[in-house]
Subunit: 151 residues, 2 copies
């Protein structure tokens, strides 16, 4: 990617994470971008929705696929504030997301650079380009603050 055309959507994903915290949900936000435009966004809401699959990435992917009328999100970028878990990494592969940007890495639950390393398995039929670290400190701060308050 060239610097000239590059725009970060992590500030929006971080704002969504903060909105999740305000609802008592673990603060993680996600945005899906196609051709430089946001086509879907979501934050974590498993408690509110009574849905264990309602992670920010899954909800954003489902909404983007609805918006496009296509089960494949070809040429789309996913911006998310935390390293995706195994469920979400699998969904990213199924959706054919082209680029994945995540802020903070997650040694406890991540499955991109940790544990299941979903994209590195031969069973994985699509591997997005992966960029991490943009907005990392802020994403980690939002999570730390959330869990400190709940203790």
């Amino acid at each position: 990617m060239s610097d000239a055309g590059f725009r970060s959507f992590m500030p929006r994903a971080l704002a969504l994470a903060r909105a999740a915290a305000d609802m008592g949900e673990v603060p993680i936000g996600a945005v899906i971008v196609k051709d430089g435009e946001v086509i879907a966004e979501a934050h974590n809401s498993p408690r509110t929705d009574h849905d264990p699959t309602a992670h920010a990435e899954i909800l954003a992917i489902r909404r983007a696929a609805q918006a496009l009328g296509d089960e494949r999100l070809t040429g789309c970028e996913l911006w998310v504030t935390l390293e995706p878990c195994a469920m979400c990494a699998g969904a990213i592969a199924h959706a054919r997301i082209q680029r994945l940007y995540y802020a903070a890495s997650d040694p406890k639950g991540g499955a991109v650079e940790h544990g299941a390393r979903v994209f590195e398995q031969e069973q994985c039929l699509h591997r997005p380009e992966v960029y991490s670290g943009i907005g990392e400190a802020e994403a980690a701060d939002i999570l730390r603050e959330f869990f400190k308050k709940r203790r």
Copy 2:
């Protein structure tokens, strides 16, 4: 489990898989059982739903959580005709499914006994009891027949 109280819900999951094939969806079916009663069922429908996350297991888990009004499916069994992928295995862990029964193993896409081996990772916070092989030949036949027709 005692033989006396054991009932297989795989015939119902196989019937759902056949219904998926009739709609042109990859034939995989899933049933969720609590206290011996079916509380949710689904078959694969990513194409019909324009939803890359619409695997049988994900849909059944979401419906069961809605039915119970709880994001956790404590004490529930999931019966599915094929070894779950990384996305679905992750969802099974998040949902706290107690027992997972799957018919055919899936070297190409499975993430229980293959590849990502989601339940074996230290990042996995809940491991269901896993039973495989019930209805295996029939599940494999349904898939083989489906892909033969589409070639």
